[in-house]
């Protein structure tokens, strides 16, 4: 009798659980069937009337039914919760194609990037970074670099003089002289010197009265022109591509002897000739040479003991060549539409 009742209850419960359409309804089912005053409790209360044989059997059945209903309710509950969550998530759906809240970052200037890249390369090669004044004494800008006052390569008209003895430096080479002096005749001296320089020019597409230069200097015992060639090869490959070749052509600078200009094989055409290299296959990149003994001597180094090389390059020129920039004034107009294009440089 009780047994049948339990089985019937089980059927009823399963049916009710099945039709519960929300958590509240499910909770009602729970209370109705498994509550303290629920029908199973009632069944158990009536167990006193049963025989000793029947009692454990019905008791066990009642527990099983209770467990089973509880499990079904849990199952249903998880099911309902999942559905509910799904609905909630569905309602939270957004247009993922709307623009995000991004942080607009600024741009690093192309010249700054080129200088940084050169600096990092040379730091890796053991060169420190030296900086010097932009307003120089005539002595450091010219005389200490083997350009005495009457030297034909000197023209007052080409420089921004402030007095007869003070001028805006026309190159970064005076930093060489300062650095050598600081080392008081003892090598090695291994520096690069980036910075602004000034020439008395009218600004146009290829001339700027202010521009950047990076000077390099290495003075030690037994520094050779072949070492210069080696270092410049590393530089050329780093800046312009691993398959670049370099060539050195003789040239003239008062502060080096021998003096050379370095060309790289054209990175646009690989050396076959194009409009970047003007059909020659080579592009002139920088000037260099072995430090003139007069320069060493004037800055306190004994040229019979020390030799050295120096080189100087123009970041604007490098940038213009590398990216095909047509007008040097772009670097100083600072048009954001220009700057932005080189943020990755």
């Amino acid at each position: 009798m009780l047994k049948e009742k339990l089985l019937e209850l089980r059927e009823q419960a399963i049916e009710n659980i099945g039709s519960a359409d929300g958590l509240k309804a499910l909770q009602d089912v729970h209370v109705r069937f498994l509550g303290k005053k629920g029908p199973i409790t009632e069944v158990l209360k009536g167990m006193g009337k049963l025989s000793a044989e029947e009692r454990p059997v019905v008791g066990q059945l009642a527990n099983e039914v209770r467990k089973m209903i509880a499990a079904k309710i849990e199952e249903k509950k998880a099911d309902l919760e999942a559905k509910l969550l799904e609905m909630k998530l569905e309602s939270e759906k957004i247009d993922v194609t709307l623009p995000g809240r991004k942080t607009v970052t600024g741009n690093h200037h192309l010249l700054g990037s080129i200088i940084r890249e050169v600096e990092d390369l040379f730091i890796g090669l053991g060169f420190s970074i030296e900086e010097g004044p932009e307003v120089e004494q005539d002595y450091y800008n010219f005389e200490a670099l083997n350009l005495p006052k009457d030297h034909p390569a000197r023209d007052m008209q080409d420089s921004f003089y402030i007095t007869d003895e003070i001028l805006m430096r026309t190159h970064t080479s005076p930093v060489q002289a300062h650095t050598l002096e600081k080392h008081k005749g003892v090598g090695p001296v291994k520096v690069i010197c980036p910075g602004k320089v000034y020439r008395r020019d009218n600004d146009d597409a290829t001339h700027s009265h202010q521009f950047m230069q990076i000077e390099g200097l290495y003075v030690d015992h037994n520094v050779r022109l072949s070492d210069l060639k080696g270092i410049l090869t590393v530089f050329a490959k780093h800046m312009f591509g691993a398959d670049r070749e370099i060539r050195l052509r003789p040239s003239f600078f008062p502060f080096t002897e021998p003096s050379v200009e370095m060309d790289i094989s054209c990175f646009r055409c690989g050396g076959h000739g194009c409009n970047v290299c003007k059909g020659t296959g080579w592009i002139e990149i920088l000037g260099a040479g072995m430090v003139h003994p007069n320069v060493l001597r004037m800055s306190g180094f004994d040229p019979s003991e020390y030799t050295g090389f120096a080189f100087g390059m123009g970041p604007e020129r490098i940038a213009m060549l590398k990216y095909g920039i047509e007008d040097i004034r772009n670097f100083y107009t600072d048009d954001i539409r220009f700057l932005k294009q080189f943020n990755r440089a």
Partner: protein
């Protein structure tokens, strides 16, 4: 220097080397051939023709109808040149020919008369009009040329002209013989030079003319030849064509020959009409103060005692090395010529030429240096050519003052030094071989070589010069690339360089773009927005190119304002820029300014653009202040920084603050003055400038590590009502001073002004965090400190707790 390939063949056999190959070899050896031009490029069908008859055109007052013998045929050609005449041999562009400018010549009719070609002027064959010897007319061959043959070789229009870029170091190549020596060494082929042969009269020149030099320190040699019986006429075709190739306009035999010898030997010569010389004595002296001379170009020149003057004893006849005088100029009537071949001090010539703005082929050669030992040879060469082509009779000898020759220089050095400096592995024989190719004499004694350097190579004076000579002739391409074997060294950024880079990264990551602007600016702008304005004039350059770039900036801000304006003018109103760069601060009593690196920035427009979430937000004072605060946090100096309201020219009087580091002003920030904005047509813009160098000079403070907290902190909020005149900084200060060790942080999270407080009051709410690293704080402990803070704020600032 324009070098004719054909002319060069007089001295060196160039067979096997095209002009391009030659140019490449010369360039690789150190004298850059800037370009090669082919004067006859594109010309076709130009032959030598003979004008058989020349009749006036029946229907024209200036055209002529000519029958022209072209060798294989005779054709009729209508010619408009005024100088055409029967019997002339002329270049003829035949039917189908191409002349300069790729113009094709076709059979045509001129006023009804058929014409089968064109008689050509040199300019029609591509010769620069300013160089062509006959300006209005066809070119007429003056000598025997074969009729019917291609005219181009006879006009040197089959030549190639190499344009050499002559640097100070290659002045020895400013003449054909110098280039020939160079090419002989580069190609390792012998040089062939002829010694000039002068047929002299018995009569000695020094019987007719004497020379004295007063300025002998500046005139080491002055020589002259005297020639009579001169007939001035056009010079022969070959000289004219060579001059044209070199870019010199032919004038007359006398002038052309002196120019020709200068081009050949590098020695400038000058010819005086001796009949107008005015005396039989040449005196070389310094000019007097304001002494005047009228030069060949008809200009009256005023000289100074620094200029060298050639005189006839009384008055000037030439400015030494620069230009001759009009009074003794060679003319068509000249019969007697005094030919000057002299050495003048290069610097003196340079100064005079530059002051008179008279740079010439001659003066530039004097300026760059001459071969001392070629001066008499040049005089002889000119005499030889003048006898041949101007009927000159040459009196015996060169009248001279000073030494005609100087000894060659000897350089002694270990031959291995060449390898040591180049990093090469040349044998002694290779080295001496190269030096001999350069026509240097070499004498090897064990490890040492003695090299005799001829005077034409006045640029070679020290062992390093020989290193270069060997290196460039051997070829730098043959030298290996090595890496230095010297002391190994490490390198790193200095602390300042490191922090400066970090500052750049920070500025960019918070949205400011880096710019580089000019250091030289207008005088007025160079004095504006200076952090520490001492009222001194900005440093100025002596000869500015323009007023725009005349003075050195003392602040970066004016330049940044220009950049903002540039963008605004191009419809880009929302911009943020920064620059790190030098400013130049005048020092009282010194010409040289102090240089200080500053960081400056500007923001303008919106900090948040208009987007789908809402309206844009304009930048304001706190945007710019936040930038600096972020920077100072990053550099761990915020504790040492204060802001103080200030008034600065060009800035908004109520929205400007000085930035102080340890109590010293190091910069400022704030809004531009509305008037400045209006004048410059700017939107509301905010700027800052900080002496970053002084801020970071000592690098960064060491990092002070603290163990992570094991005990919780306690947070209390506090709202204080104060008078509006009380600054936030005052409250911060009082709270901090009274917060004891336990107060860890103070954060202002609300400022209220409005109906809930009095009109002259505001409420400021702070969040205070208390913490003890050793234990958990009790309420009582926190309450005690908190109360102390509230009381101090009440006592010192009249603050009341807001209920």
């Amino acid at each position: 220097m324009l070098v004719s390939y054909k002319w060069l063949q007089d001295y060196v056999d160039l067979q096997g080397f095209s002009p391009e190959e030659l140019a490449e070899r010369i360039t690789n050896a150190g004298i850059e051939v800037e370009h090669i031009s082919y004067p006859g490029k594109g010309l076709k069908g130009i032959v030598i023709g003979k004008v058989l008859t020349c009749e006036p055109h029946p229907d024209s007052d200036h055209l002529h109808v000519c029958q022209v013998d072209l060798g294989s045929e005779t054709v009729q050609i209508v010619c408009g040149a005024p100088n055409v005449a029967a019997g002339q041999k002329v270049p003829v562009a035949t039917n189908g020919a191409r002349i300069a400018g790729n113009v094709k010549i076709r059979r045509s009719k001129f006023r009804g008369v058929e014409s089968n070609g064109m008689l050509c002027a040199l300019s029609e064959l591509g010769v620069d009009k300013s160089l062509a010897p006959y300006e209005d007319g066809i070119y007429v061959f003056d000598d025997e040329v074969p009729v019917g043959e291609d005219a181009l070789p006879y006009l040197n229009l089959d030549d190639a002209i190499l344009d050499l870029d002559i640097l100070v170091s290659s002045a020895h190549c400013m003449n054909m013989i110098g280039v020939a020596y160079e090419v002989s060494a580069i190609l390792d082929r012998p040089i062939q030079l002829k010694t000039p042969v002068v047929n002299e009269l018995d009569q000695a020149a020094d019987e007719k003319v004497s020379i004295s030099v007063e300025a002998s320190d500046k005139v080491p040699y002055y020589g002259a030849r005297l020639m009579t019986g001169i007939e001035v006429a056009p010079s022969p075709r070959w000289i004219q064509l060579r001059l044209i190739a070199a870019g010199v306009r032919p004038i007359s035999n006398v002038v052309d020959i002196s120019n020709y010898v200068m081009l050949e030997y590098g020695q400038p010569l000058h010819t005086f009409d001796y009949d107008t010389f005015g005396s039989d004595h040449v005196l070389v002296r310094y000019a007097g103060e304001n002494e005047e001379i009228t030069t060949l170009d008809g200009q009256k020149r005023t000289l100074t005692p620094e200029d060298l003057l050639i005189t006839n004893g009384k008055k000037g006849v030439a400015v030494a090395g620069v230009m001759g005088g009009e009074n003794t100029e060679v003319s068509d009537a000249t019969k007697t010529v005094l030919l000057e071949a002299a050495i003048f001090d290069s610097l003196t010539v340079r100064k005079t030429a530059s002051r008179l703005q008279l740079r010439s082929e001659a003066s530039s050669r004097y300026e760059k240096g001459l071969d001392r030992n070629r001066v008499a040879l040049a005089a002889d060469r000119a005499a030889e050519l003048l006898s041949l082509y101007a009927h000159a009779t040459v009196l015996k000898g060169i009248v001279e003052s000073g030494d005609r020759t100087v000894p060659d220089q000897i350089i002694t050095m270990p031959w291995q030094k060449i390898n040591k400096v180049l990093g090469s592995d040349l044998t002694c024989e290779q080295i001496t071989g190269i030096l001999k190719r350069l026509n240097f004499a070499v004498d090897v004694e064990n490890d040492v070589m003695h090299v005799t350097v001829p005077t034409r190579r006045f640029d070679v004076t020290i062992p390093e010069d020989l290193v270069e000579e060997v290196g460039r002739v051997y070829g730098y391409n043959h030298i290996p690339a090595t890496l230095p074997e010297g002391t190994s060294s490490h390198a790193a950024l200095t602390p300042y360089q490191k922090i400066r880079r970090r500052t750049e990264v920070l500025m960019e990551s918070i949205g400011l773009s880096q710019v580089y602007t000019y250091s030289l600016t207008e005088k007025e702008s160079a004095s504006s927005y200076v952090v520490h304005d001492k009222g001194l004039e900005p440093t100025q350059v002596i000869w500015p190119m323009s007023e725009e770039h005349a003075a050195l900036r003392q602040s970066i801000v004016p330049q940044l304002i220009n950049v903002v304006q540039y963008h605004l003018n191009r419809q880009m109103p929302d911009v943020k820029f920064y620059e790190i760069g030098k400013v130049f601060l005048p020092v009282d009593g010194e010409a040289r300014p102090a240089e200080e690196e500053h960081l400056a920035g500007v923001i303008s427009g919106h900090r948040k653009e208009r987007n789908w979430e809402g309206e844009p937000l304009a930048v304001d004072f706190f945007s710019v202040k936040g930038i600096l605060e972020t920077l100072f946090d990053t550099l761990a100096v915020s504790d040492r920084i204060d802001y103080r309201a200030s008034r600065r020219t060009g800035m908004h009087p109520g929205q400007t603050a000085d930035v102080l580091l340890d109590g010293e002003v190091i910069g400022y920030l704030g809004a531009l003055h509305p008037k400045v904005q209006k004048d410059s047509g700017l939107n509301e813009s905010f700027v800052f400038e900080v002496a970053i160098e002084s801020l970071l000079r000592n690098g960064e403070a060491a990092i002070d590590y603290h163990v992570l907290p094991r005990f919780p902190s306690t947070t209390r909020d506090i709202a204080l009502v104060v008078k509006r005149t009380v600054a936030a900084a005052d409250l911060y200060r009082v709270i901090r001073e009274n917060g004891s060790q336990l107060l860890k942080s103070v954060n202002l999270f609300d400022v209220y002004e409005g109906s809930h407080v009095a009109d002259d009051e505001k409420s400021m709410a702070f969040s205070l965090v208390y913490f003890d690293p050793e234990r958990t704080l009790t309420d009582d402990e926190v309450n005690a400190v908190h109360e102390k803070i509230v009381n101090a704020c009440a006592e010192q600032l009249g603050a009341e707790l807001r209920g």
